[in-house]
């Protein structure tokens, strides 16, 4: 190989096109950043790592960043209120059915409980449940989906028919039966989260399976097999990272939907049991007096809606940020 010393990148490129010697020159751009040159298509890849690119795109989306800010604000303030507010969510004061005031910003209920403390604790409780559900559903769904999509054949048929089975049983019916049984035996929110998680993994499984079916035909999977990678190594280290985008987006949606599901259950009296509170339970308790003691109904509903919307905004922002079709910008 012949090197042409002492030429700036531009000149060297010119030379390559015109001289015989240039044909065998590696277009060395020297120590200057070789990545800054746009390729011949007139499009330039953004010269950052993929994670940095995704983060950059995420924080430059107003909707996503608003959603994240609201969610973070709710999570942090619910923690702070739980620790520092002068009423606990279980406290009973002798101010009954009081409208919002300075000492009770959201009023009190019929037995004198401080609604502000309860709403904030309910928010925290919902976030805890939702995150647990997301972890359970995503890991279970990914495991089953990846196995089915990678191995295909009988494994696939068996696992996917199992998914179908879970999908055709009305979720609410399973939840009512299971939650009723569990919540009578244990009032722990964790079991409720586990149950919701065990019925919401099916969508993740189908998504990951579909992704794996297409990924397994890609050349780099074949290439890593030809390099002696074992099945497990191929799945975990080569294919899974390529499916991260949809998995993460789906996980956010699972967070939002599990809050809806938990609220539904609690509203039906099958979810979180008093004295613990969740937003759904508060909405349920407040609905009877919605026309008279409006604050008991309105505040939990507002918080519930804001919480769910903020998570959807985050999910939407992630989906946009992870979209590979947006990875190229005009130079």
């Amino acid at each position: 190989m012949t090197e042409i010393p002492g030429l700036s990148p531009g000149e060297e490129r010119l030379r390559i096109g015109t001289t015989e010697a240039g044909m065998h020159t590696i277009p060395s751009v020297g120590p200057a950043d070789p990545r800054s040159a746009p390729d011949s298509s007139g499009l330039a890849e953004e010269s950052r790592g993929q994670l940095a690119t995704v983060v950059w795109r995420f924080i430059h989306s107003p909707m996503a960043i608003t959603g994240l800010a609201i969610f973070a604000f709710l999570a942090i303030s619910s923690l702070l209120v739980g620790a520092f507010w002068h009423y606990s969510y279980t406290a009973i004061t002798n101010t009954l059915n009081a409208p919002p005031s300075w000492s009770h910003p959201m009023g009190t209920n019929a037995i004198g409980g401080d609604l502000f403390a309860q709403v904030m604790h309910g928010t925290l409780q919902d976030i805890e449940i939702a995150l647990t559900v997301a972890v359970v559903a995503t890991s279970l769904g990914t495991l089953i989906g990846a196995t089915a999509g990678f191995y295909r054949g009988k494994t696939d048929t068996l696992l996917m028919r199992f998914v179908d089975l879970i999908l055709v049983i009305p979720v609410l019916a399973i939840l009512i039966v299971l939650a009723n049984k569990v919540s009578k035996e244990s009032s722990d929110w964790f079991y409720l989260a586990l149950i919701i998680g065990l019925v919401s993994w099916t969508y993740v499984a189908r998504l990951v399976r579909a992704d794996f079916l297409s990924l397994r035909e890609r050349d780099f999977v074949e290439a890593s097999r030809a390099l002696g990678a074992t099945n497990r190594r191929i799945i975990v280290r080569h294919m899974l990272p390529n499916a991260f985008g949809p998995i993460i987006v789906n996980a956010t949606i699972t967070v939002a939907l599990s809050i809806v599901l938990e609220s539904t259950l609690s509203f039906l009296g099958l979810g979180i049991q008093p004295p613990n509170v969740s937003l759904g339970l508060l909405v349920d308790q407040g609905q009877d007096s919605a026309t008279t003691e409006w604050w008991l109904f309105v505040f939990p509903v507002i918080f519930l809606v804001i919480l769910i919307l903020s998570i959807f905004f985050i999910g939407d922002g992630l989906r946009e940020a992870l979209d590979p079709r947006k990875s190229r910008v005009r130079a």
Binding site: V29, G30, P34, S224, R225, A226, L227, R237
Partner: protein, 363 residues
């Protein structure tokens, strides 16, 4: 581990390999019996047009074919049969002993990892080394294959490389574990002609550094000419001519090889020759052919060609033609009933020219 004898001898042999794909519309006879062997340090080129079974042969030897492929015959690596081994038994051989280079570097690298990670991953799949050591070796490998500024480029993603650069990265991955054999499946086909030379020189460096033997699969005779010690020409799932590069290029004994060479533009001769074409198309592989599969396209076709498929026979034994004795001694074989007449026959008398302006060329 005892160092295998790399000075001479067969390290890889394929005997009577057949591959049949069971499909919904019937069987496809992709490879119908191929024998070849590879000595250490040797470069064997397999040429043939699309669908002749070149890639399938390579995939079959590595156990990379889909489940509907029925494979018979034997594949031996250092005396051990590796055909039909389980994935688990094959994993330590793949990459470490026999490495593979794929056709399209645009898709054979994982888009979500840096090239350094991917080279290190190849090393760590077979060797118990730390991440740092593997990355250090990755930089060295990138330098070896001619990536400028390797220290910085090692942390770049595949999409930040050009096609030729990516193929060099693929070569670096293939040589990462010092394999004994490298299988290159059309390594330059997806690349620009100007880049091909660079990639081939990287491949040569890889061979020199690792001392590996190379099985080079391509349909580019130019690549083979500059690289291979021996050449195997495939047609319709079978070898039709095998010999040293010299024999096959200068004394082709099969009309198909003649046609292939005639269709290649020559820049090295002063004589202006119109390009030749082989009329027709390769046969469908959904039925086992009766007679010579090349017969429908062959200018020398005779009655025997329609009924009897010629086996590979040594060239030059019947004492007629330029290849006499030389061909026989060097193991030059061809599957043609008229092999000895074909040797030395001018290509112009066999195949039509691609263009009509012959007068212009002649004047």
């Amino acid at each position: 581990m005892p160092e295998p004898d790399r000075s001479s001898g067969e390290i890889f042999s394929v005997e009577n390999l057949t591959v049949t794909f069971k499909t919904g519309t019937g069987d496809v006879y992709a490879v119908r019996g191929i024998d070849f062997s590879l000595a250490s340090h040797e470069v064997l080129g397999i040429v043939g047009e699309s669908g002749s079974g070149k890639s399938v042969t390579a995939m079959a030897t590595m156990g990379l074919l889909p489940r509907n492929a029925v494979i018979t015959g034997s594949v031996r690596y250092e005396g051990r049969s590796i055909l039909g081994l389980s994935e688990k038994e094959l994993a330590p051989i793949r990459g470490a002993q026999i490495a593979m280079i794929f056709q399209d570097p645009m898709t054979s690298l994982n888009p979500v990892y840096t090239v350094g990670w991917q080279i290190a991953e190849a090393i760590r799949a077979h060797q118990d080394v730390s991440k740092e050591e593997a990355t250090k070796k990755a930089v060295a490998l990138l330098q070896t294959v001619g990536i400028p500024n390797a220290e910085a480029r090692v942390s770049d993603y595949p999409h930040e490389f050009s096609g030729g650069m990516r193929q060099r990265v693929v070569i670096a991955i293939a040589m990462a574990n010092d394999p004994t054999i490298i299988l290159a499946d059309e390594p330059t086909t997806a690349l620009d002609v100007t880049v091909q030379a660079q990639v081939l020189s990287s491949l040569r460096t890889a061979l020199e550094q690792t001392g590996a033997a190379l099985l080079l699969i391509t349909h580019d005779l130019g690549v083979i000419a500059g690289f291979a010690d021996r050449v195997l020409v495939m047609y319709a799932g079978r070898p039709v001519e095998v010999g040293t590069a010299e024999d096959v290029f200068y004394r082709p004994a099969m009309p198909y090889t003649h046609g292939l060479l005639g269709s290649l533009p020559r820049l090295d001769s002063d004589e202006r020759q119109p390009l030749r074409q082989i009329p027709g198309a390769p046969p469908s592989m959904t039925a086992e052919p009766v007679g010579c599969p090349f017969a429908p396209r062959c200018p020398l076709r005779a009655d025997i060609c329609e009924t009897e498929e010629p086996p590979l026979r040594p060239v030059g034994l019947s004492g007629n033609g330029a290849g006499e004795a030389v061909g026989a001694a060097s193991g030059h074989v061809a599957a043609c009933h008229f092999a000895d007449q074909v040797v030395g026959m001018p290509v112009a008398s066999m195949f039509p020219a691609t263009s009509v302006d012959q007068e212009e060329v002649a004047s």
